[in-house]
Amino acid sequence: MIFLNVLYVEFAKLRRSKVTWLSFLVYAVMIAMAGFFMWIIKNPGAAESLGLLGQKADLTLGGKSPTWPTFLGLIFEMAGMGGMIFLAFIVAYVFGREYVEGTAKTMLTLPTPRAYFVLAKFVVTGLWFALLTAWLLPLGLVAGRLVGLSGFDPALLRGLSAKTLVSSLLAFSACPLVAWIAVETRGYFAALGYAIFTLVLASVFGHTGWGPWIPWSIIGLYSGMAGTGPALVAGSYAVLAATFALGLGLTLRHEVLADNVQ
C-alpha cells in the first residue's frame, strides 16, 4: 500500500512535467525525419533539388532501397542505441530533478522507506521508456504509409517488434548507473555527460573483441548500431545483469545511507 502511494506520487510528478510530453514529441520528430529521408530517396528528383540533404539521407540509409524492411530496420536501430541515450536522459531527469528542484531533502525526511522512492522511480522510468518505444510503432506505420513504402511484411514487423523489446530491456539494464551518477552528483549534467561517454565507449569497443563484454557495446551490437562486430555470447547478458545490479545497489546505497547536504 505504501509503495503504491509512492508509485502514484512518482507518476503524478511526471504527468505534469513538460519533459514527459516533450519526449514523445522528440520521438515523433525522429520518425518524421526518418520518413522524410525515405521519401527523399524514393523521390530522386526531389532529392536532387534539395542538394546536400539528399546525400545525407543516402548516407544514413547506407544506400539501401526505400522499402518497409529498410525503414523498420532503421526504427529498430533508433530504438536500440538511440533509446539507450534517450533513456539516460529520462533517468537523469527523474533522479536528478529532486536535487535540482531542492525536493530531495523533503522526500528523504518522509515517513516512507527511502528505497521505495528509488524503486518507484525505476518503475516509472521503465514504463515511460516502454511507452516511448511502443510509440515508435504506430508512428512508423503512419510515416511508412504516408511515404508509400513497398514490401510490407507483417512477419518482419512482428520480428522487429520482438527485437525492439529485447533491445529496450538491454538498454534499461544499463540505466541504473546513470541514476546513481545523478543522485551522487545531485543533478543532471554529470549523468548526461556519462551517458554520452558510454556512447563513445559503445562505438570504440563495438568493433573490438571486447565488444560482447562491455555493457554499452553489447546494446549497440544487438541493435546493429555499433556496426558489424563480434557476436554476443551468454556472458554478455550476464554482464548486463551485473551492470543493472551494480547501478541499482549504488543508487539505493546513496539514497538510503549517504549524507544529504543538498
Binding site: Y8, K13, L110, P113, L257, D259
Partner: protein, 270 residues
C-alpha cells in the same frame, strides 16, 4: 514525559571542517525553541542530523523518545519539517503538492483544505508552485510541514522570504500550535527579534558548539548587566570593584538584549 529532542555529544566533520562539535540539546515538549547562530555556525548541519539527512560522526539523538535508527518511519510520521529553503515540485499546483504529501504521510483528505486555510493559501490552490512568490513558496513549505499535524516541527529559517505581516502571522500560528495543540517547535533563525518574541528558550550555537541557552525569563530580564562606573580615580575604582568594598560614585545598569548577547557570544560587534 520524554523530551521532544534529546541530543548528546553530536559531532560532524566535513573534510577538515568541524561543522558541529560535542553539541547537546534538550528541547522540552510543547515549547518553542529558537536555535540561533551566524551563517556557518552549524545550525543547518545540526537540523540535518536531527532529521537523519546527515549521519553524525558521534553522539546520540532521540526524537519524541525514539531513535530514528530504531523506528525511522514511526518517528518521522510524528515530525514536520523543512530544511534551509522552500522547495516544492514546480510543475504541480499548491493543492497537488499538498495532496502528494498527504498521500505519503497517510493523512486524512480534509487535511489539505485545512492547512491551506491555516496558511492562507486557498487563493493560490490551483497555481503552480513555480509561479508563487517567495513568501507563498515559504507558506507552501510550512503547510507541507504542518499538514499531518506533527507533534514536533523542525523548521530551518521559517520566516525567510515572508513580509512583516507574514512574519507576524506565522509567529501567531506557531504560538497557537505550541499553546493549543501542544506541538513542539524547534526553529533556527538569524532574525534575533523574531526569536526573542517567539521562543520559550533560545540556544546559541557558534563554531559548532552550543555556547549558551536562555529561557524566557532570562530573555525578558536580560541576564547580564553591564555596570558603568564613573569614578574620579580609575585605579581606585578598579581596586574598589575588586574588593567590592568601595561605594561607587554612580552606577547605571543596562540590560543586555538578545542582539548584544548574540553578537558578544559569536564574535560580532555590538
Amino acid at each position: 514525559m520524554t523530551s521532544a529532542i534529546s541530543a548528546h555529544g553530536l559531532a560532524k566533520r566535513f573534510g577538515q571542517v568541524r561543522a558541529v562539535r560535542d553539541l547537546s540539546l534538550e528541547v522540552r515538549r510543547g515549547e518553542i525553541y529558537g536555535f540561533l547562530g551566524r551563517n556557518g555556525a552549524g545550525k543547518t548541519t545540526t537540523i540535518r542530523m536531527l532529521l537523519g539527512l546527515i549521519r553524525p560522526d558521534g553522539g546520540e539523538i532521540r526524537l519524541l523518545g525514539s531513535s530514528l535508527r530504531e523506528d525511522r518511519a514511526g518517528v518521522l510520521s510524528r515530525i514536520g519539517c523543512f530544511v534551509e529553503s522552500a522547495a516544492s515540485y514546480p510543475n504541480l499546483t499548491v493543492r497537488e503538492n499538498l495532496e502528494l504529501h498527504r498521500r505519503l504521510t497517510r493523512s486524512p483528505k480534509a487535511s489539505v483544505g485545512e492547512v491551506m486555510g491555516l496558511l492562507k493559501l486557498e487563493d493560490y490552490a490551483d497555481r503552480r508552485a513555480s509561479r508563487l512568490s517567495l513568501g507563498n513558496k515559504q507558506r507552501l513549505s510550512l503547510a507541507r510541514a504542518m499538514l499531518h499535524k506533527p507533534e514536533l516541527l523542525v523548521l530551518d529559517e521559517p520566516a525567510n522570504g515572508l513580509d512583516p505581516a507574514g512574519i507576524v502571522e506565522i509567529r501567531g500560528l506557531l504560538r497557537r500550535l505550541a499553546d493549543i495543540e501542544g506541538a513542539t517547535v524547534f526553529m533556527s533563525s538569524h532574525l534575533l527579534d523574531e526569536v526573542e518574541q517567539l521562543a520559550d528558550r533560545v540556544g546559541i550555537v557558534h563554531e559548532g558548539r552550543l555556547v549558551e541557552e536562555l529561557d524566557r525569563a532570562q530573555l525578558r530580564k536580560g541576564s547580564r548587566v553591564a555596570i558603568e562606573v564613573d569614578a574620579s580615580d580609575a585605579e581606585a575604582a578598579d581596586r574598589a570593584l575588586e574588593a567590592a568594598g568601595i561605594k561607587a560614585l554612580r552606577q547605571m545598569g543596562v540590560a543586555e538584549d538578545l542582539e548584544s548577547r548574540f553578537l558578544r557570544l559569536t564574535g560580532g560587534k555590538a
